[in-house]
């Protein structure tokens, strides 16, 4: 007869974590370090990255990481804090890029003006386009956001407006490689920490309420369409900034900016980095983009790679990297007899 032992893992908060939640955090160096260290590593690491990058190619990759990170953080915010699954990151990028291209080429504005202008006007357009799907929950938002980039690309091809299939290829290029990198990295950090702040404010509570039980929010006399539109607008701001920035980075905007990469990558980064953390997607981007750059020779296979990664993580490790890391950092665990 085998001896049956039932064990379970017990998790307890580390003492330093418990103390860091209280007044000790400001009065003791160890607790302060416990709180500051992970954030400092992220900020210093990101800001030092351009200095470490060996050549121009990797400096361009850092710019790309910034753009994709904006998309991924936005996706995480929409999907896990508001309950809207956005399959159309390409729509934000494309609209932002074309806005910047239009202002720059047809109106002759300087990039210093076009990027903020394209960000705000592009985000407004995106929000208006997505508005019909916002009062509902379920698959409606996902499918509508998935259709728009395909349709916009097709309309541009068919009607031959805005350069048609060739795209606009005379957009001003941002030449200084240092300002390029630091511009996008600082925006990423601001968005990341800003959103983390935002989801702990009152509006964050309302948004999570919409995700979990929208009838309760409605019963409290708040318009869920209004709040969802705000969340979409914030995400669109980030995406459109990425698009406008990309247009000026390459000096080009074409229908390739409506490509599938921009829609599927945020999903992969979020699932890998850890959903519902907002920093996780950034981490996922930092890991995935260099891998995918080394796979550049395989072309379309990169999208397959992202998709397979998503499926594997969802099946085998749905908590993702950051949720796991955070648990290890804040808690210790050991086996106990039941």
């Amino acid at each position: 007869m085998t001896k049956e032992t039932l064990r379970r893992k017990e998790r307890l908060d580390r003492g330093v974590k418990v103390r860091a939640d209280t007044i000790y955090a400001v009065s003791s160096a160890k607790e302060a370090l416990f709180l500051v260290a992970p954030r400092a590593v992220l900020i210093v690491g990101l800001l030092a990255a351009p200095l470490i990058a060996p050549n121009l190619y990797w400096q361009k990759v850092i710019c790309l990481i910034g753009v994709y990170a904006l998309l991924a953080i936005g996706f995480d915010f929409l999907a896990y804090y508001t309950g809207l699954v956005c399959l159309g990151g390409a729509m934000f990028i494309g609209i932002g890029a074309y806005m910047a291209g239009i202002f720059n080429m047809y109106l002759g504005l300087d990039p210093v003006v076009t990027i903020p202008l394209a960000t705000i006007i592009g985000a407004t357009i995106c929000t208006l386009l997505l508005l019909p799907a916002l009062p509902l929950r379920g698959v409606y938002f996902a499918i509508i956001s998935f259709v728009y980039p395909l349709i916009l690309a097709r309309i541009i091809c068919a009607t031959n407006i805005l350069g048609g299939t060739d795209g606009l290829y005379d957009v001003d290029i941002l030449l200084n490689v240092w300002t390029n990198q630091y511009l996008v990295l600082i925006v990423v950090l601001l968005c990341c920490f800003g959103l983390r702040k935002l989801v702990n404010e009152d509006i964050g509570l309302v948004l999570r309420g919409i995700k979990d039980n929208d009838q309760a929010i409605r019963a409290s006399g708040m318009s869920i369409t209004h709040y969802k539109a705000m969340a979409v607008f914030i995400t669109a701001l980030m995406g459109c900034f990425g698009g406008a920035y990309l247009a000026h980075l390459y000096g080009f905007c074409g229908i390739s900016l409506f490509a599938m990469d921009f829609s599927i990558f945020p999903l992969a980064a979020t699932v890998v980095g850890g959903p519902a953390t907002l920093v996780g997607p950034l981490l996922g981007t930092i890991i995935l983009i260099p891998i995918s750059e080394t796979l550049r020779a395989f072309g379309a296979l990169r999208i397959v790679f992202y998709s397979v990664v998503i499926v594997l993580f969802i099946i085998f490790w749905s908590e993702g990297l950051l949720n796991w890391g955070r648990r290890r950092y804040e808690q210790f665990e050991h086996w106990v007899r039941v």
Partner: protein, 288 residues
Amino acid sequence: MSLVIYGVINSLILALMAIGFALAYSVSRVPNFAHGALYILSAYLCWIFLNELGLNYVLCIVLSIVITAIVGWLIYELVLIRVRGMPTSEIIASFSIGVAILEFLRWQGLRGGTYTLPTFAPGTIYLLEVPVDLQRISVVGIAVLVTVLIWLFTHYNRIGLGLRAIAQDERAALMLGIGSDRAASIALALGSALAGVAAIVILPLGNITVTTGYEVLIFAIAVCICGGLGSWTGTIVAAFVIGFAQILTVSFIAPHYQMVVALLAVILILIFKPSGLFGTQKELEERV
């Protein structure tokens, strides 16, 4: 007159594309975003069997539909069963499976006009002085046949009745001993098989391309949303509405705007009657 005939044919094509998605969704409540990929996959498999292995055409058709059904069943058993009930993960998982299949085929070299399936019977007949080729006639025949078979299956077969019970009231069905997961996996397999049938009937009219996969997904979901998610009558009616709208735009405006028509239909439905044309009983829980 040709508008009416081609409108009917186009509507039935849309209905064929959508009915598999509608079946899988109404039973399992999992939106199968891999539907378009399964559609293309079965056509591609059929092409491989036919041109690389040189099998008999009928055998190819049967094999590819069966394999597609198995793939759909595997997708449910291996992946979707673990995330069922979490809407965000359901969409992410099924969408990425679909993208993985489609983009893998694109990498395999699925582009251009080389991939075409042979028509069942060459030739053209005249219906009220409008020339219609026999493939389109067979589309009509098979669409009607599939609809009738599904109706018979869900009304007179034990398994089919079980599927309908789960679709109508999952908890009551569970109490009567109908396994929800089993029903859902059967529904996904059936839905995938229907995607395969649709592909093999419809694709001889055009090329097998990756873009078609995305389009089919969009058309299928557009039809289902307009008809009311989960309502089978609604799906057929909505297929006719969108089908005729598409044929009218193609003949009077320009041929590029079929997808715009589908999107506009969805947006109008969402604004004016979000539960869809026939989804009345779910109006309260979906309109929030």
